[in-house]
């Protein structure tokens, strides 16, 4: 291995460990989901206000209707991607210990997927009337 090091060019050594042309991927997706979040959040706030004061059966019926379910699913998809990237930036900015950083980055991914799927499960259950 140490012999091999001499014959490898500096370029060969760094190849594959860089950004792999995805350097602006997070930046772009953060803005893409930010733009999507604006109308989706407004729609969800309106849905929430219409649900206030209603009993469980009425709330379940409204939440399970096709249009409301689809808006809720889009909202959850968009906010979960947005918050996962956002929290990743926060972790990368403030956690400098390598193992702690990796642990938190993994926890961030797990949390985002788990909370997103739990919310999706809740909507689909209402929507399919199970």
């Amino acid at each position: 291995m140490s012999d091999l090091k001499h014959i490898r060019t500096p370029l060969a050594r760094v190849r594959g460990s860089g950004s792999a042309r995805s350097g602006t991927g997070h930046f772009w997706h953060q803005r893409l989901t930010a733009v999507a979040n604006i109308p989706l959040t407004i729609a969800v706030v309106i849905i929430l206000i219409t649900l206030l004061g209603r009993n469980q059966a009425a709330a379940a019926q409204i939440l399970g209707s096709p249009a409301v379910s689809i808006i809720m699913l889009l909202f959850i998809g968009s906010i979960v991607i947005h918050m996962k990237i956002g929290m990743q930036v926060v972790i990368e900015d403030y956690v400098h210990d390598e193992s702690a950083k990796l642990t938190l980055l993994m926890a961030n991914t797990f949390f985002s997927i788990a909370v997103g799927l739990a919310a999706v499960y809740g909507i689909l259950k209402l929507s399919f009337g199970l």
Binding site: V35, I38, V45, I49, A57, A59, L63, G86, V90
Partner: protein
């Protein structure tokens, strides 16, 4: 394979405590804090959506939402959501290269703060009226 080198001890760039607090800087911090709050707030959203399927589950959520701590958390959640959304609009404007002038940026952050508080209060008044007045 990768050679790990101990990084040289270089001076760090000045951090937050060096600068005099400014509204734009404070609002940048608040944008992050509200984002972190909303991150954990999704737990409430998921709980509410799952609870909506059963009368007992919904009753438990309503018990929480009607408690004073629940009200406080939901009020904070509303403000964080609106504030982060308006802050996001501000950042999207800044992304286009506009609004960086000394008076423009101050105006934007002030509108962000005043707007978020005003919209939150309006939403809660509408919400309490929709529930049939304060309980």
């Amino acid at each position: 394979m990768a050679e790990t080198r101990i990084p040289a001890e270089r001076p760090l760039s000045p951090h937050l405590q060096i600068y005099r607090p400014m509204l734009t800087m404070m609002m940048s911090i608040v944008h992050r804090i509200t984002g972190i709050g909303l991150y954990f707030g999704t737990l409430l959203l998921a709980w509410w959506l799952i609870a909506a399927a059963s009368p007992n589950g919904y009753a438990r959520f309503e018990w929480f939402a009607d408690s004073w701590i629940g009200r406080l958390i939901l009020f904070g959640y509303t403000w964080a959501l609106i504030h982060h959304m308006l802050g996001g609009v501000r950042h999207l404007i800044w992304d286009t290269g506009r609004g960086f002038g000394p008076s423009e940026r101050e105006w934007l952050v002030a509108a962000n703060l005043i707007g978020s508080i005003a919209i939150t209060l309006v939403l809660w008044i509408v919400g309490l009226l929709a529930m049939g007045g304060p309980r």
